[in-house]
């Protein structure tokens, strides 16, 4: 095998030595390293996850292509998986050849194709403690811009050129509409029953950038309705699988993936990177989060959901009534049903997903459409669509408006989500870069010492007076039960100290666990 995945550190000296051949007059290598920032965010490490079987087959294919295309003597590549620190060697490409020109070109070809085609995903760990999955795909490939270098491989197919003639022919679309689609960025949340048709149609239509969010792995029970996938894919992360399908369907589409669900802390920022969002999850919390993030970021949102033989569709353009205008509060899980508990026939999310894709294209292309906001009920047993107009003066408007409602909900969720942190031990917290602040009274500390040195001891009641000392770095507030620390953390957050957290359950929880 010329291509290999490695969970362990790479030894470049031995990799290089293996490239020596009597016929080779030169050797060229490329090393990809982990750098300390990406798109303006500070990064302190990466994790790589690969769809191993597919990555190995595709990697091997790329190296064979490079050999054929450039006539080099040897070409090899190793890609890391697992955790890497800043400066770590993530990917190594080596080529040896009779002459330097083809060695350079083949090396460039290999790394470009690896980044474009391999189902390998990286999770960036930010200095702020968050992390995000980022697809290792990009669209620019140097060899597509090479002239007259096909003589080594006359059998190679010409690069794929998308043909949008069937939709460009539509008077309302035309070349201008196609250019609009190519410049559009659409985020699809959920790559399941609804997401599959959405992703297929938008990729096929030539939407320039598709973001795909899905935290789940493919289950065999998904296959009756999730048409992007096949039996070999079971067990793999859906966002990765979907991204790979998009690359196969339309290589000109740039794909970004999130392998964790969005949360209150990043949803508005992520929405802000897209022109339109399509909510396709089966998760009520995600639907409310999407509605709130759409309102606050001013991003159009297409919502749909299904139940057995029917579905609901709602388009929220900026300023229009949101999900909370209909149902102000997230209902209890038992009230809403799910595909798991209630069952669903495959074509039902297929139809609703296709309708979502249609609504998305209508907005992106600014096609004629009803401008009054509505909830559409689609009953596929009766073949009936009921369109219920939504009165913007009711709903959120009676409670301060969609923005205020969204801000409140998001604020609450955010506090709940990231203030309380769970650790197995205080040593783990220190290792993760936290400074410990013991909020207990002197008597409590004497009776039950931490067993580890806290950076500070500040009684909970005096915490605000010490806010200035806690403004730098990440602070983990600790008390007996987690109640005082959670409250103190909220007080400090209100003062703008974003790096303050509370040990969930307090020292009690550590003792129970330990």
């Amino acid at each position: 095998m010329r291509f290999r995945l490695s969970g362990a550190e790479l030894d470049t000296a031995s990799l290089r030595d293996a490239m020596r051949h009597p016929g080779s007059g030169g050797f060229c290598s490329f090393e990809g390293w982990v750098r300390d920032s990406n798109e303006g965010r500070e990064v302190d490490g990466l994790s790589y996850e690969a769809y191993a079987e597919l990555a190995e087959a595709e990697g091997e294919r790329i190296l064979q292509e490079a050999l054929a295309r450039y006539g080099v003597t040897d070409a090899r590549c190793v890609h890391r998986t697992g955790d890497l620190d800043v400066g770590g060697l993530a990917v190594w490409v080596g080529v040896s050849a009779a002459h330097r020109d083809e060695a350079f070109r083949a090396c460039r070809y290999i790394i470009d194709e690896i980044k474009h085609r391999l189902p390998i995903w990286k999770k960036e760990h930010y200095v702020t403690g968050e992390s995000d999955w980022v697809a290792c795909t990009h669209v620019y490939r140097e060899h597509e811009h090479e002239l007259h270098h096909h003589h080594h491989a006359p059998h190679m197919a010409a690069p794929f050129v998308p043909d949008y003639s069937r939709q460009v022919r539509l008077r309302e679309v035309g070349e201008a509409g196609q250019a609009r689609l190519a410049a559009s960025r659409v985020l699809v949340i959920g790559a399941g029953g609804l997401g599959c048709p959405v992703i297929s149609y938008l990729a096929g239509a030539g939407v320039g950038t598709l973001g795909i969010v899905d935290g789940d792995r493919l289950d065999a029970s998904n296959l009756h309705r999730q048409t992007l996938y096949d039996a070999r894919d079971v067990g793999e992360p859906k966002a990765m699988l979907a991204a790979h399908r998009v690359a196969a369907l339309n290589p000109s589409v740039q794909v970004r993936t999130w392998l964790d669900p969005l949360h209150a802390g990043n949803a508005v920022e992520v929405f802000g990177q897209f022109d339109l969002v399509i909510e396709c999850t089966d998760d009520m919390r995600s639907r409310y989060l999407s509605s709130d993030a759409a309102v606050l970021s001013g991003t159009p949102l297409v919502l749909a959901s299904v139940y057995q033989y029917e579905g609901q569709l709602q388009v929220i353009e900026p300023g229009a009534p949101c999900l909370r205008c209909l149902w102000p509060h997230e209902p209890a899980p038992e009230a809403v049903g799910s595909c798991v508990l209630s069952g669903v026939l495959g074509p039902v999310p297929g139809v609703l997903g296709a309708m979502q894709a249609m609504e998305a294209l209508k907005i992106l292309l600014d096609l004629p459409r009803p401008r009054d906001p509505a909830l559409s009920l689609v009953n596929l047993l009766d073949l009936a669509i009921t369109r219920l107009p939504i009165d913007a003066k009711q709903g959120c408007a009676l409670q301060g408006g969609c923005r205020a409602m969204a801000q409140q909900a998001l604020g609450r969720a955010q506090e709940e989500a990231d203030i309380d942190l769970v650790f197995d031990s205080l040593e783990d917290a220190i290792e993760a870069g936290f400074q410990l602040v013991d909020l207990r009274e002197a008597g409590e500390i004497a009776a039950e010492p931490l067993g580890i040195t806290a950076s500070r001891q500040i009684p909970a009641t005096q915490i605000l007076a010490h806010a200035a000392e806690l403004a730098q770095g990440r602070q983990l507030l600790v008390c007996a039960s987690g109640r005082r620390s959670a409250h103190a953390a909220r007080l400090l957050r209100a003062e703008g100290l974003d790096g303050v957290h509370s040990l969930a359950g307090g020292l009690l929880a550590l003792r129970v666990e330990g």
Partner: protein, 80 residues
């Protein structure tokens, strides 16, 4: 008695065992009607969890009933 047309969606359709029915009721408004239906079909969802529409327009729970009204109770659904 007022004669109304009812349409059921999602869990309500499942619990009622039909997607609609015609009903003669003594209920004066949609809230009373829903209470009557809860008893009739063992609906488990509270009215607060639902949206209600009369003649294809969303309305409040005190909306009065008239002969021939078409009434739709809509729970939020989350499947995908």
């Amino acid at each position: 008695m007022t004669v109304v047309h009812l349409q059921y969606y999602a869990q309500l359709r499942e619990q009622a065992g039909r997607s609609g029915e015609q009903l003669a009721t003594s209920a004066a408004n949609v809230r009373q009607l829903y209470e009557e239906l809860c008893a009739r079909h063992d609906f488990t969802l509270a009215a607060e969890a639902l949206k209600v529409a009369v003649n294809a327009q969303f309305c409040g729970w005190d909306h009065p009933l008239r002969d021939g009204d078409t009434i739709v109770f809509i729970p939020p659904v989350a499947g995908g």
